[in-house]
């Protein structure tokens, strides 16, 4: 009993710690003024009204979503088959893949952005495409790790062999057997990519800045004008993230044949992700 009490106490404290910043942000976004007093002087929805009436805000949300989803789709189409190919048919390339996909972690966003600017400014390639390419590179580690682990877990090579002997072509085996079995890995990778880059700031700001106002750049601009308004942006951003994450989870796990272990892993990474995203946002 005592053990379960203390563990639930620690858990509650942890949940509280994670939620407090968000709750306070929410309260700030609905208060008329909360500067010189302990409690807000009054409650209002005027900041939300003002925010949603601003066409620039709506545009920034749409831009962010288009950019992230577009890149995500490109990642899924190009990266997923590549990882599968490498894992199954080129086991020797694996040892080069590990350090390669980790490189984006080693290169700070500022350096990458500067490099991209120097290379592509003045070239016919539009900078939005360059931005998308930058995010593509940054998404590699998330995708590679989650899909690679998933492939190992289901012993993809043997599954391919078994299906080929049973008369399936490589494409049939990929679509009918491999994809459904690495769905969870793809979903985790997609969610990580999506939640990380919906709020991407560094590269976007350096490459395009005010010319391509994403939700984060909009928020930064508003923050200088009004704290309540930017809190409203944060809350909206969060709800949007939660909603889209829920849709992705729902869409990909309709049939839950997978072992419990796999699902626990997924939920864990989603909550982790939300936590890290919120910290990141509130730190700026």
């Amino acid at each position: 009993m005592r053990k379960s009490f203390s563990s639930s106490l620690i858990l509650s404290l942890f949940v509280l710690l994670m939620c407090v910043p968000f709750l306070l942000t929410f309260v700030y976004s609905i208060s008329t003024e909360w500067g010189k007093s302990i409690l807000p002087t009054g409650l209002t929805l005027q900041w939300y009204e003002q925010l949603y009436a601003d066409p620039r805000f709506i545009q920034s949300v749409v831009r962010s979503c288009l950019l992230t989803f577009g890149t995500l789709i490109a990642v899924l189409i190009i990266v997923v088959p590549s990882i599968v190919m490498i894992s199954i048919y080129l086991p020797k390339a694996e040892k080069f893949m590990k350090p390669t996909v980790l490189m984006p972690y080693a290169i700070p966003g500022v350096v990458l952005a500067t490099g991209l600017l120097r290379t592509y400014s003045g070239s016919p390639v539009p900078l939005t495409a360059v931005l998308s390419g930058g995010i593509f590179i940054y998404a590699l580690p998330f995708m590679y790790q989650s899909i690679h682990n998933n492939l190992r877990e289901v012993d993809a090579k043997t599954l391919m062999e078994a299906s080929e002997i049973l008369g399936a072509s490589k494409l049939q085996a990929f679509v009918r057997l491999l994809l459904p079995n690495i769905k969870i890995g793809i979903m985790v990778g997609s969610l990580l990519t999506f939640s990380t880059f919906l709020g991407e700031f560094q590269i976007t700001n350096m490459l395009l800045g005010g010319d391509f106002e994403t939700i984060r750049i909009y928020m930064l601009r508003v923050m200088k004008i009004n704290g309540h308004l930017s809190s409203a942006v944060v809350v909206t951003y969060f709800l949007l993230l939660l909603m889209i994450s829920a849709v992705i989870v729902k869409a990909t796990s309709r049939k839950s044949y997978k072992l419990m272990a796999g699902q626990e892993e997924t939920t864990l990474s989603i909550s982790e992700m939300k936590g890290s995203a919120s910290n990141e946002l509130l730190n700026d």
């Binding site: 020797k92 289901v154 012993d155 043997t158 599954l159 062999e161 078994a162 299906s163 080929e164 002997i165 049973l166 008369g167 399936a168 072509s169 049939q172 057997l177 459904p180 079995n181 049939k255 044949y257 997978k258 072992l259």
Partner: protein, 337 residues
Amino acid sequence: MSYLTINDLSLALGGRKILHHLNLNIEKGELVTLLGPSGCGKSTLLRAITGLIPVENGRIVIDGHDVTRVSPKKREIGMVFQSYALFPNLSVFDNVAFGLKMKKLGKSMIQEKVIRSLDMMGMKEKADAYPYELSGGQQQRVALARSLVVEPKVMLLDEPLSALDAQIRQQLRTELRALQKKLGMTMIFVTHDQAEAMYISDRIYVMNQGTISQFGEPEQLYTHPDNEFVARFIGNYNVLSGKQVRSLLGETNFEAGNGSYALRPEAVRTAPGTKSIEINGTVTDVNILGNIVRYAVKAQDVILYVEQINDSPDHAGIGENKTLFVDGEDMISLGKA
């Protein structure tokens, strides 16, 4: 010509030679085991037969058709893996139906064949279950049903029982052998377990370092090993040099050459026979393996392993003397020096 013929097959993986000029002949309805230690190339040979690994040179002929350059799906081969390799996203029924769907058979035909095949493996009740809901033994039964249902010409089994518990392993191997005989299925069974190989096979090919060391019926392999490797791998033989044999048996009693000799541990007896030679030694170790007791006896500076049925009255402990009798005819010359 045999039903399945492998002629002068060689293969290298990543620059390393795995198989060297192999020849194999398997008749229709025969169960042949490839037996050897891990790393001897037996699984690679199996994959070469399926077509999953391309061969360097040599020919593979199945039922009169040269399939050496034919893709895996057109070879009409079934395969069962050690790790079962069931498709985790499909139910038991759909796993078994997969091969038939790939052949584009009609729905009612598939239904009928799948149920019959599952019934044969005693898995009909589990048709709607998913692989993760089944035990290892049940999963392997489904995997067997999945390969049998497409009626392959040859069925390959890559250590299919090695991941199972001892009891289930024995039960399944008995069933597998009965089923194979009933269906007249041609099977190649890979294992590193000599007891399993002896139990299940019509013939055994013993493999060592990518070559065939010896092949033949289990009885023949056991009683007449051709070389030291087979003698040690198949029967825990005592392998002795000519010099050791001379000092053990005495030069006058047995005319030993310079090559090595193999002596079965159960051929060393404790009671004298008509032509037996007496050896006196000291017991250095005793292991009880259930119905068999295994002694290590030191005589004339040679350690001799002796196996006896565990009801023998002349039981000896470590350090005690033991009198043994060996018949010169039981000494098998392995030929090479």
